[in-house]
């Protein structure tokens, strides 16, 4: 086994502990509705590759649910190991594709890439909007929801897009890094996938509840007339993309701030830094 592979292996338990520690403190201390329990998974995926990310995600949820003693234990986390696996796998794929590479906004090429990523997201948004939100009839055709659901769903859709635009603008103008836009787009895609994967788990295993803040959102959608499955999916589509965008942006900022020699020691390190100039 090579030394970079050993590093990935050492990173995994530390990332698991990070997931648990961040997931249980950040939410409590700052009282913000973000989970923050997949930053370690995303970092492992980006640094060590898709399989390392997948294993970290699965083990985090299994240990959290079944092995850790009560003050830390989260008994509902077990079945969501599937979602965590998908998140870790996707993070690894994005890392391989170079979505987490730091790209100074002064370079025209990185700006072009960021513009392309933003355009892809905009295209997706425009497509979804034109198919779904133009009239109540179209909305009913696509989602099977009634008219009352439309406003709530529209609100959630708008919130996610606004968050993407705000975070991308912040990354471009305050941090002057075009690579962050790619990381955000990766986070958005990961979040959407995670929502689609976890909705059936929440609906059928738990009867729609997980004991966290998202239950309020589910209750709101339920009272608007959505079925249990629709309500959990809507809740996931609102909170997962937001959470994963923040997680990916954080992972990106942290990786960009690390010394080059530390990052370069991991299997995927070469794709996280631009080649040394000169």
């Amino acid at each position: 086994m090579s030394i970079p592979a050993t590093r990935t292996l050492v990173l995994m338990p530390i990332a698991i502990a990070l997931n648990v520690a961040l997931g249980s403190t950040v939410q409590q201390v700052l009282k913000l509705p973000i989970y923050m329990d997949s930053l370690g998974t995303v970092l492992t995926g980006v640094l060590g590759g898709p399989l390392a990310g997948l294993a970290t995600g699965v083990l985090t949820n299994l240990l959290w649910a079944y092995v850790l003693p009560p003050p830390l234990a989260a008994p509902t986390a077990g079945p969501f190991a599937v979602t965590a696996a998908v998140i870790g796998l996707l993070a690894g794929v994005w890392g391989r594709l170079g979505a987490f590479r730091s790209r100074p906004a002064s370079e025209p090429r990185s700006l072009l890439l960021a513009a392309l990523a933003a355009a892809a997201v905009a295209l997706l948004v425009a497509y979804t909007f034109s198919r779904t939100y133009t009239s109540p009839a179209a909305f009913h055709n696509v989602t099977g929801f009634g008219g009352r659901e439309l406003q709530l769903s529209e609100l959630a859709f708008g919130l996610v897009i606004a968050a993407f635009a705000a975070l991308a603008a912040w990354a471009l103008f305050a941090r002057r890094d075009a690579g962050a836009v790619l990381a955000l787009a990766a986070g958005l895609a990961t979040g959407l996938t995670a929502a689609v994967v976890s909705a059936p788990i929440a609906a059928y295993v738990f009867g729609g509840v997980t004991g966290f803040g998202g239950d309020v959102v589910i209750a709101v959608f339920r009272s608007a007339g959505a079925s249990l499955y629709q309500a959990t999916l809507e809740q996931g589509l609102l909170s997962d993309p937001l959470d994963k965008m923040i997680t990916c942006l954080l992972a990106f900022s942290i990786l960009a701030g690390l010394p080059r020699r530390l990052v370069a020691r991991f299997p995927n390190g070469a794709r996280l830094r631009a080649p040394e100039p000169g």
Partner: protein, 207 residues
């Protein structure tokens, strides 16, 4: 119904092992889920599954959680891992699981230290939400960077001890294992297979 049996058997086993208190704590941890499940399923006007569905979901959750809780309340995780390694589980898997269990309390303590330190430097944990949101990076970054820096030391320590070297390892300490226990394990495995077969048969007949 099967979930109810599992919960009862687990409770009896816990009583026998004297770990009922630990099991009760695990049940208490599920109270928020139960309340929230009742609200979503029973109290809202748009007809959900009702209180019965909420109860069934909760029972399923208990059935899935309590046996594992009991296992780790009666078995020291390092012993379990050592035995699994002796039985052929790869040493990488054993290392990741064992190191993760050891790292969780350490990282948790580090996280609380970071919170205290940032509060001392004026981190706003009570203000409006944009002010609180500004606290995310100061809380997360020190913890993550500190942990990542640790990776290098540990990887080198492992390599120095020939962790990556090929070949089988000799396990020096094996937990006691009586013939009765071995027989009971095989019987339980057989019972599991029989149960699965019965389940499949019922499903086929119903179709």
């Amino acid at each position: 119904m099967p979930a109810a049996v599992v919960v009862t058997v687990t409770a009896l086993a816990a009583l026998r092992a004297g770990r009922l208190r630990r099991l009760a704590v695990a049940v208490l941890a599920l109270v928020p889920v139960a309340v929230s499940s009742l609200v979503v399923n029973a109290l809202l006007p748009a007809g959900g599954g009702g209180a019965a569905a909420a109860g069934a979901a909760l029972l399923r959750l208990l059935g899935a959680t309590l046996p594992a809780t009991l296992l780790f309340a009666t078995t020291a995780a390092p012993d379990l891992l050592a035995d699994l390694e002796a039985r052929g589980l790869g040493r990488r898997a054993v290392f990741v699981l064992g190191a993760a269990l050891a790292a969780v309390p350490r990282t948790q303590a580090l996280a609380l230290d970071v919170v205290d330190a940032q509060r001392a430097r004026g981190l706003d944990t009570e203000g409006s939400w944009p002010r609180r949101a500004r606290g995310v990076l100061p809380l997360v970054a020190p913890l993550v960077i500190g942990s990542l820096a640790e990776v290098e030391d540990r990887a080198l320590a492992l390599e120095v001890r020939a962790f990556g070297a090929p070949g089988r390892r000799t396990v020096l300490q094996r937990p006691p294992d009586s013939g009765w226990q071995r027989a009971a394990r095989w019987a339980l495995a057989g019972l599991l297979l029989a149960g699965l077969a019965a389940r499949a048969a019922v499903a086929l007949v119903a179709r």
